[in-house]
């Protein structure tokens, strides 16, 4: 009973928490560069400002797909928080990304097309790894339900450490962080798929980025089983790792990203799958 209240609160407050994560991230990133950085509530100031801008849209389908992206991502996050089917969660997240890619292709802007192409390539890079992690979690707990992983008394990270390393390898791709930020790439393709959004419609895409933070950090949190203190520690470590990586590396091209994903992250996930299949840990 108490647990379900926390779950519902988490689902309702997910954009707010994600916005706070983004605000803290901008602050941390600035401190890493010896800057002062914007206030922690800066994402919410941006949000309120964008509400007040004049509404411009390319065409109604484009704006609608952006809002649908936000809604479906929130739905995927809700299923993850409620402890639903892991495969279903992964494909709901894929659906959300696919909607945004579709929105990117629906305009005539060349940068939007490039961004959509690159988003599709990033999906190709991280999706197989996630599916294999889900399968190894199935081998471990005997169920695809995430609630089984949340309930396990021994932290999952001890049972499948290589899966965690593989997840750390693909998280920068998923969060569009350097060195794998080709799908956003502000200096190259000016934000990619989000390029043509403005005003209140950009807000949907901007807020779904916060939901993406929540999604990724919940995946990390999941690896701690029912030990939520360890989970928060893992999330904090991952947060610092991702920001340090973002600040210290340059962008690679899509071939290098795919090569890294297929030759490093994917074999690691496979090795982890074999280890869980034969109960080596």
């Amino acid at each position: 009973m108490n647990n379900s209240i926390i779950q519902i609160l988490l689902i309702v407050l997910a954009p707010v928490l994600g916005g706070l994560i983004y605000g803290i991230e901008r602050k941390v990133k600035a401190r890493m560069q010896r800057r002062i950085g914007p206030p922690v509530l800066q994402p919410f100031y941006d949000f309120l400002k964008l509400m007040d801008k004049r509404k411009m849209m390319v065409h109604s389908t484009h704006a609608f797909l952006g809002i649908l992206h936000f809604v479906s991502l929130w739905f995927a996050l809700a299923v993850l928080i409620m402890g639903g089917d892991f495969i279903l969660i992964i494909f709901l997240h894929l659906l959300a990304t696919a909607l945004l890619i579709l929105a990117g292709f629906s305009t005539r802007s060349i940068f939007s097309h490039l961004g959509a192409n690159r988003s599709a390539i990033s999906v190709l890079a991280y999706e197989p790894v996630l599916v294999i992690i889900a399968v190894s979690a199935y081998m471990l707990t005997g169920s695809f339900n995430v609630s089984e992983i949340y309930a396990s008394t021994t932290p999952v990270i001890l049972k499948m450490p290589l899966a965690f390393v593989a997840l750390l390898a693909i998280l920068p791709i998923k969060l569009k962080k350097s060195p794998f930020d080709i799908s956003e790439a502000h200096q190259e393709v000016v934000g990619g798929v989000e390029l043509e959004y403005s005003g209140i419609f950009y807000e949907a895409v901007y807020t779904s980025k916060w939901l993406d933070y929540m999604f990724c950090y919940l995946l990390v949190f999941m690896f701690a089983g029912n030990n939520w203190l360890l989970g928060l520690g893992l999330v904090a470590l991952t947060f610092i790792y991702i920001n340090a990586l973002d600040n210290s590396t340059a962008r690679v091209n899509y071939k290098q990203m795919l090569r890294f994903s297929f030759w490093v992250a994917l074999p690691m996930a496979f090795l982890n799958l074999l280890m869980t299949m034969f109960h080596l840990l």
């Binding site: 800066q42 964008l50 502000h186 403005s198």
Partner: protein, 169 residues
């Protein structure tokens, strides 16, 4: 309007070089670097006209760049302000009266704040942006259009050709 004050808290900047010598542009980028760090006021250099509030323009408007200048300006959603950076942007500077340049940005789009100097110092740019924020807070969301484009429209085959309008003026 209650939301007006949040405009000053997250102004996103669009930087356009209308034929400048790159001197002012370097100073604008210096504002974003750790020493002056204008991101602490919530400013981001977006590079995307559809999501920005403040347009920082440098350079005397060359005849090649003026169509893009008006294009980019009209792509920005209101409320928006324009800051002319550097002597060239304000008045044409040393290029005033030359055959390939116009005399400043206000010949084509309405300018709210002029930041003089060759090149303008980062402190001056920050002061100009703060001035612009006060204007941005008071602005309405009404359409602001380039006067020259709408005073004498040119019709070709029954269609308004924007490129030619800019080229003939």
């Amino acid at each position: 309007m209650a939301l007006n004050k949040f405009r000053t808290k997250s102004p996103w900047i669009l930087h356009y070089n209308a034929g400048s010598c790159n001197g002012c542009d370097i100073e604008i980028l210096a504002c974003l670097a750790p020493k002056y760090d204008i991101e602490r006021f919530g400013m981001i250099n977006t590079g995307n006209p559809k999501q920005s509030d403040i347009m920082l323009v440098t350079g005397p408007v060359t005849k090649r760049s003026r169509e893009r200048l008006v294009d980019i300006y009209s792509q920005m959603p209101e409320p928006k302000v324009v800051i002319a950076c550097g002597s060239c942007g304000c008045s044409g500077g040393v290029f005033r009266g030359m055959y390939n340049c116009e005399g400043g940005i206000d010949q084509y789009i309405p300018v709210d704040v002029y930041v003089p100097g060759c090149g303008c110092r980062p402190e001056q740019i920050i002061a100009g942006v703060v001035e612009a924020l006060a204007i941005l807070e008071k602005k309405t969301k009404e359409m602001e259009e380039s006067g020259k484009l709408h005073n004498d429209p040119i019709e070709q085959d029954g269609q308004l050709n924007r490129r030619n309008v800019a080229a003939i003026i």
